[in-house]
Symmetry: C3
Subunit: 153 residues, 3 copies
């Protein structure tokens, strides 16, 4: 797997892996599945995308917010197993969009995460997914995603 | 396993497996677990149940909407592994109901999916489950479910 | 593992495992993963914490509600495998908070569940987690959590 070199060729630098916002850990490995904690739009202590899509954020802001979540998730993967090259498959992405009531475009927002995983992991980045709009997220983050990853033992 | 014949005896024809609504895939198999993408109430390009329970939909509409989601999920299972007969167990169903604020009857809605799995898969259809009300779903679908299935390798 | 004795030393008595509120089962075991059904704040037929955080409940009520959910989840684990001592790891906790729109403090609420798992299971209780605010939960429960657990085969 050459995920690290693909990431480098994209000229993307991952942020530091986010610190948990409560009494939990960033990841748990069970068998060869890595369960990541939900990631939000916080990078280096700054919340990059805050507020609801349809209010403080438009679709483009939501998409960009989801991409930040995916970068945070990738940072946790690297911290957990040492290198993105050990990723066999992004298995499942659960996407939660902080949005105005009746919001119908969660898929377009969560594509910001999915596109990032596709760019970095190629075929191994093709994942199953949910996308729902919720009424609130931690620290008013615009997006939260939760990811399950299959890694080399 | 005789799930296909049980389905036939119910006189139910599954729809075509739904196409992804974003940059993801309908299923990922890891070990003998099949992770399905979230399914909504879209069949053959038509959204069968749209709008919130408690507004555009009543409980019966919500129940029927959840049944459609389950049929879509079953269609993905068949596409993924070739036959419903390879299903060992429906493991987990996460049910999201597009509902008015304060909606308390998500379990009755998601029973529409659970009852379908019980009818088709018998004991293998008995699953763990969550049911929550959310403020919005893709394309204003009334229900979305996400399913994890154990299949024969 | 000495989780049962740790629980006893905390002077905590688990409630009876909750009965399903619909056509599902409290748990499914696949390999050595136990998938629990979502648990709410119902104990012995009484809903202990009802209504939204930010309205009927304050943060302390939400935290206490999440603790009740965790106790219900632990009761299911014991019912499923016979003893908490078979828990190798609490893998993932998905926390849903019934909250007013725009609620940003789901992590503080779901800590009520996480702290309980940490107290009872020690290092084995350290889990990955999500925490989101939703617009409604079954029977107006203040919190619902869904838990995946790794157990000794």
């Amino acid at each position: 797997m050459n995920h690290e070199s693909r990431l480098a060729s994209l000229d993307v630098t991952l942020p530091d892996a986010p610190k948990p916002a409560g009494n939990y850990v960033p990841w748990v490995k069970s068998g060869n599945l890595l369960y990541l904690a939900g990631t939000i739009c916080m990078v280096d202590g700054n919340m990059l995308y805050q507020g609801k899509v349809g209010e403080a954020q438009d679709l483009e802001g939501g998409y960009a917010a989801a991409r930040v979540c995916a970068m945070n998730s990738a940072a946790i993967i690297r911290e957990a197993v040492g290198s993105l090259d050990y990723v066999r498959r992004i298995v499942l992405v659960q996407g939660f969009v902080n949005a105005v009531p009746g919001f119908t475009k969660s898929p377009q927002v969560i594509n910001g995460a999915s596109d990032f995983f596709a760019e970095v992991f190629g075929d191994a980045g093709k994942h199953a997914r949910t996308a729902v709009a919720v009424s609130g997220l931690p620290l008013d983050s615009t997006v939260e995603i939760q990811v399950i990853v299959e890694v080399d033992a």
